[in-house]
Symmetry: C2
Subunit: 434 residues, 2 copies
């Protein structure tokens, strides 16, 4: 959902993504979305995208059309080491260029294999072929370099389809090179509020009147598994009003906003623990390591995460976390009593001043009338305070696990901020579900 | 990467997806991939995709080009109730049609709101506007019906961008209607080999000669974080030879192939444990719960996964897993001695006959000259046998963690199959990295 006015005066490119696997749907084209965001942030608008298969005439037609329409095209994919990676020869022919083996590129490819203690497979040699006159962008993350070809029609830049390599090339020089084509390009300025614990429609009702009030700033609501991002963008104008506009949204949404940065809630929680010199203990049942994995995605997590328990089976809840057998028998594995005992057991085992415990029914099986699939008890503790809360999430097994992990991190975060939510079930209807 | 000869005699369509949010990258276009898979399975090839913004001339140009090239186009998006949803009027004008309010469509939309106890907002009335002569496909999952317009150039079918509505319409009649255009259409048959532990280029060198040998069967190599999928597809012909072709690939790649189904290695390992009545204990350091999370993504995992330990800090390796302080001091946390002690400790704690332990340097910090970032020791045990192996992965923190988790699952899987790899480092150069 997007609202507000955008200015159409800035630079444009087209994207052509190449690969039979994209057309056949074996691969979802996440590169195109990533490029769209990266380019938009730099002030460059993607005006059109095309996807074609591994076929020389199809690749040439799509790129020629994009050059004639827009004069600048980014191609991704088809730069691999096999005989059916056709992008490089197709575009070399489109520009009327022959190719040569580039010694520096070949040496870089060989060095990657040498570092791993193995010889370069013969098929990788083709990746060192460079069309005459092409600009080479070294690839720090893989074997295929980026290549830029240019003539009267404009510029075509060839990039690998492997996301980590594409990202390294764009950020390592390609974006800078592209921006230089539009000397007066103003970077697009934007502000982000990442929210969690409120649905998109409930959030929209809270800020609905602000959307027209901040024009020409563009307001986008981007729902995801972990919450709704609110993105304010000043495309052509309004950059000077952006700070004030973001402040108006944050005033309304402060309760749900956990960061203004492009950061995961796990990073924000980790930073809050680090600042307080605390470490956190984890006791996960239905999320099965999901929270541990998210927290340890953050570099340096060992400063504030010493240990986590995945107590997936009731035996493990007893033997590892010391949940009394009687508690499990009387109240069941998905209960306030059990989740509190899990939390205490985990914190005690590693002498942690903070903790998270999660137990629930992620489905698809295991639900009962009184505890349907999606029933999850979560407990959190920090700064001497403990809370337990019942959630009823709706969705697939994957979604329920993600919602539970996010809700647990949110509970811990609010406790660390001294903003623990009211105790008990359904304290805030807007928070039900996610 | 795709190789082999495909038959060009079968049915083809183009897809045009519409929305500024797609170009800007705020939304990943999962619909295009879903449509590609659904159509391929029905024998219809997507020959090209385009994405354009919410702009009438852009929509019209893209659809007209697709009609002229291919004669059949599916459009998704831009059928919502707001003034930014322009697909319906744009395509009506392209076909020279005026529109009328369709009483049956209007009644269906009103009924959806009535069922929720609310009045239809006035803006939804626009969704009942139908171009004259268009075929209407009722939408069981939302308010915007599907619409098909046809003339000498071919057929354009307009579908909503909401995935659940798109799926309901395609499966509820649109696909049937489309297939009827090609009376001799045969469904596509395919086979999949999922491999792990071998790089794309090394794998290609192993089977290079088979690719032309199995024509007209199409062979695609699809690399991902967890390995390379080899997909064989018989588009127009060769379906009867598919089984034999897949067997030839599997004979070469058997050592690396872990399934012929669309299943994750975690599911395959879980099934192997279940068959053997074993449960597995986990001791994760640098992967921090990643393996636990993958295994518990599988429904019913509690039958073969009782508990896992995330021993992220050295203190936890001692206190939870009983790794002797002397072992950590003498050999370090990333060593064969430590990983074996972690494995034993985890298996002992929950009386498990199988186990995985992982300790390494995921980076970006923490590397040393002798143990650079990417150094990971993995141990696995099953069926009375224990193995420990040193890996040196190359990539980002995320990639190193994913590679390590996958390598650990592979080690356990091979042990469960009685196919444990040779012990020690670099037993198989092709397995280095991933």
């Amino acid at each position: 959902m997007t609202a507000g006015g955008a200015d159409s005066t800035y630079a444009g490119v087209e994207i052509v993504t190449i690969g039979n696997e994209l057309l056949r749907g074996d691969t979802i084209d996440g590169n195109a979305a990533w490029l769209g965001r990266r380019l938009a942030a730099a002030g460059i608008r993607v005006v059109r995208r095309a996807t074609v298969g591994d076929d020389v005439p199809d690749i040439q037609r799509a790129v020629a059309e994009a050059l004639n329409r827009t004069g600048a095209v980014l191609c991704t994919g088809g730069l691999g080491p096999t005989s059916d990676d056709l992008t490089r020869p197709a575009i070399a022919a489109l520009f009327g260029r022959t190719s040569h083996v580039d010694d520096a590129v070949l040496a870089a490819i060989e060095a990657r294999f040498t570092a791993r203690g193995i010889a370069m497979p013969p098929s990788n040699r083709s990746q060192a072929e460079v069309p005459d006159g092409a600009r080479v962008f070294p690839n720090p993350a893989g074997t295929a370099p980026g290549l830029a070809l240019e003539d009267d029609r404009g510029i075509a830049i060839l990039l690998p389809g492997v996301p980590s390599e594409l990202h390294a090339l764009i950020d390592g020089g390609v974006l800078h090179h592209l921006r230089a084509r539009w000397p007066s390009l103003r970077p697009v300025s934007g502000a982000l509020l990442r929210t969690t614990g409120i649905s998109e429609s409930a959030l929209y009702d809270v800020v609905r009147d602000l959307v027209p009030a901040v024009a020409p700033i563009d307001v986008a609501f981007l729902p995801g598994f972990h919450g709704v991002d609110v993105r304010l963008t000043a495309f052509g104008g309004g950059g000077d009003m952006l700070g004030a506009a973001a402040a108006r949204f944050e005033e309304r949404l402060g309760r749900w906003t956990f960061t203004r940065e492009q950061a995961d809630l796990a990073e924000v929680v980790g930073e809050a623990l680090r600042e307080r010199g605390m470490h956190v203990a984890l006791a996960e049942s239905c999320t099965g390591g999901l929270v541990a994995r998210r927290l340890t995605d953050v570099p340096g997590a060992s400063a504030w995460l010493h240990a986590g328990f995945v107590a997936y089976h009731n035996d493990a809840k007893q033997s590892l976390l010391g949940v009394p057998a009687g508690t499990l028998e009387r109240h069941g594995a998905v209960s306030e009593e059990t989740v509190r005992a899990m939390l205490e057991g985990a914190m005690r085992a590693v002498s942690a001043p903070a903790g998270i415990a999660i137990t629930g029914v992620a489905g698809p099986g295991g639900g009962t009338e009184s505890r349907p699939v999606g029933t999850v008890w979560i407990a959190a503790a920090a700064a001497g305070r403990t809370e337990a809360k019942l959630f009823r999430f709706v969705g697939t097994r994957t979604a329920i696990r993600e919602f539970a992990g996010q809700a647990a991190l949110r509970m811990l975060h609010l406790l660390l901020l001294g903003m623990g939510a009211a105790r008990g079930r359904d304290a805030d209807p807007a928070e039900a579900g996610r």
